[in-house]
Symmetry: C2
Subunit: 92 residues, 2 copies
Amino acid sequence: MPEENIVYIGSKPVMNYVLAVVTQMNSGVSEVVLKARGRAITRAVDVAEIVKNRFIPGMGVENIDICTEEIVGNSGVSTNVSTIEIQLKKDK
Amino acid sequence: MPEENIVYIGSKPVMNYVLAVVTQMNSGVSEVVLKARGRAITRAVDVAEIVKNRFIPGMGVENIDICTEEIVGNSGVSTNVSTIEIQLKKDK
């Protein structure tokens, strides 16, 4: 099995990430992991749903994990931010 | 087992929903489902993480589902919106 393929979801338009996932899947990879935190979580869910419904029907959500990360800002104050990992898998 | 306890996550402050979940859990319910769509998805993840880390350590995320809903606006144009369901469960 190849190394885990990770797509980090940021603040770009949803379709950029959809394209990244579809490209990876079409290159022969059967598993892609979407990672996002904070407000990008919603976008990660959108990416998973769009790829599944419109581009790769044989793909499904294998697993979803949520977690908390502590971020220390410039002023030394730490904030907690939620993260999500969505594991996508394509049927062979 | 009692009926499924659902907390719908909207645009109110996160702590309102955290309180709703904690109250339900303390009333003897062992399972609560968080439902959210669109931008509230991030907030739902925050609620789950805050309850787990700060209020009910014995609670865990049992399952997470994502889905798409079609919404028809006033002008008759339909849009797709992502939804999430986070199932929280407390150890007995």
